[in-house]
Amino acid sequence: MAEKVLMKGNEAIAEAAILAGCRHYFGYPITPQTEIAAYMAKRMPKIGGTFLQAESEVAAINMVYGVAATGKRVMTSSSSPGISLKSEGLSYLAGCDLPAFVVNVERGGPGLGGIQPSQSDYFQATRGGGHGDYHMIVLAPASVQEMASLTIKGFDLADKYRITSMILADGTMGQMMEPVELSEVKTPDYDKSWAVTGTKMQREHNIINSLTLVPDELEKQNFARYEKYKIIEENEPMCEKFMTEDADIIVAAFGIAARVAKNAIVEARKQDIKVGMIRPITLWPFPKKDFFEAAKTAKHFISVELSMGQLIEDVELAIRCTRPVTLCNRVGGMIPSPAEVLDAIKKANEGGDK
């Protein structure tokens, strides 16, 4: 067992990425994720890696695109406004089916917004973000340990499916400090025969390009990509279930909201309210089946989120609107308190709010 260290969420992502074999980081500083870049700036030169502070977010994501095309593990990180700037690049990465790893440590929006935590980029992350039909795998950690483990998982999924995976965390997750155990990572061998690494005159050229001149060719690519997405939706959804077995009320929450909700659920249980939580760990693919199954016995759902009602839409879709779903939210950098969540649980228990 490795020794424990006390890390910030952002630092845990950076160190885990290094353990996962990432030696190329391109970024541009923005609060509240700057520690990722700062950590990489200190560590990368010591291990023969590349840390580069690009002139802009747009430049950084295109550098990621370049390294990804060679099949090497590469990442960038930013916070909400910076991810918007990178969205064009995310679409190009998808159009080329390139594996890449991206981190969004969200802050309040829209616009420049604020620097305090938020989850309001949920739609942007789970629906693709940039233009065109595509998805990214979106992972939502709820502890500093998960910031590390999901980073390693993110790199693996990216390579396995030739897709971009994104960590979607809020500012608190990035800034909070908790003990973490990091151990050596064994990376499986992934097929990289598609990579642009020089033919050595021994094979045909590999071409990485998102421009397709013939419409039916482009259509075929889109269909094929969505076949791949089907496999991901079948194999990769992850969630944590907390006290759900006999629950009449199910709270849906991820990241920091899930931690707050857990405290509220424990309190509600003391008051004999049968409530539990499904915490999606993958936001795309969404753990639809788990919610659908839960709706067979649960009577009411509550979506606890740091946004104006984004997660709630996936919950309603997953349970096919068979049960009422109420929203318990704070936004703009504010976080719901355990007491606020408890209130929402009590209301649901009394059959109120819908």
């Binding site: 424990k4 260290v5 006390l6 890390m7 910030k8 630092e11 160190e15 609060t31 509240p32 520690e35 950590y39 200190k42 309040g108 917004g113 604020g114 620097i115 305090q116 500012g171 608190t172 800034q175 909070m176 400090m177 908790e178 003990p179 920091i256 931690r259 707050v260 857990k262 405290n263 424990v266 950098g333 976080i335 308190s337 355990p338």
Partner: protein, 225 residues
Amino acid sequence: MKETKRITLFCGHYGSGKTNLAVNYAKKLKQEGKSVVIADLDIVNPYFRTKDSEQELKDLGIGLICSPYANSNLDIPALPASMYRTVEDKSTYAVIDVGGDDSGAVALGRLSEKIREENNFQMFFVANFFRPLTRAAKEAYNILLEIEKASGLPFTAIANNSNLGNETTAEDIMKSDEKARELSALCGLPVIMTSAVESLCEELDGCQGEIFPLTLQKKYYDFNA
């Protein structure tokens, strides 16, 4: 810590626990009946600051000097003009909480000349040997030297604040004592205190310096089921 200097500075690696230690230290001085101000000169970290303890400090009668933009959405490294009170008002004890690493210590440049002139200060290097980039005494020593260079002030002692957050055990702290000794040998400064949450203090054995008990702020996201 027999005689307390008028100015106490807490500097160290990013995330070593300076703010917590500074707040607790200011409370201790206040309990001794001294007039105390605490100054938050952190220009690096816009999250988790001295201002989080604002109400508690106010209730205790401890003055708080911090950027008017602390805990707001304005993310700029602004310092308040009132920070000069720490060096001008010699009737009051000043506890200064400095931002992490050399980049945080730069903020002291504005005060260092006056602090040296008055020569009634102590500057503690806050060390947490469970932090990833200061796990070895040698690494901590390099950061210590960088901070001295950036701040223009010499450290006078080491404060061993090694911890693993909520999971810290007395054994963890005692294990860190060896590294504190190593650091002490490298820089030639004494370990003036070993700090720990109150509940662990009794179990500590063989640690250097005074055992300094800490009360920690409970955070809304801690899960205590």
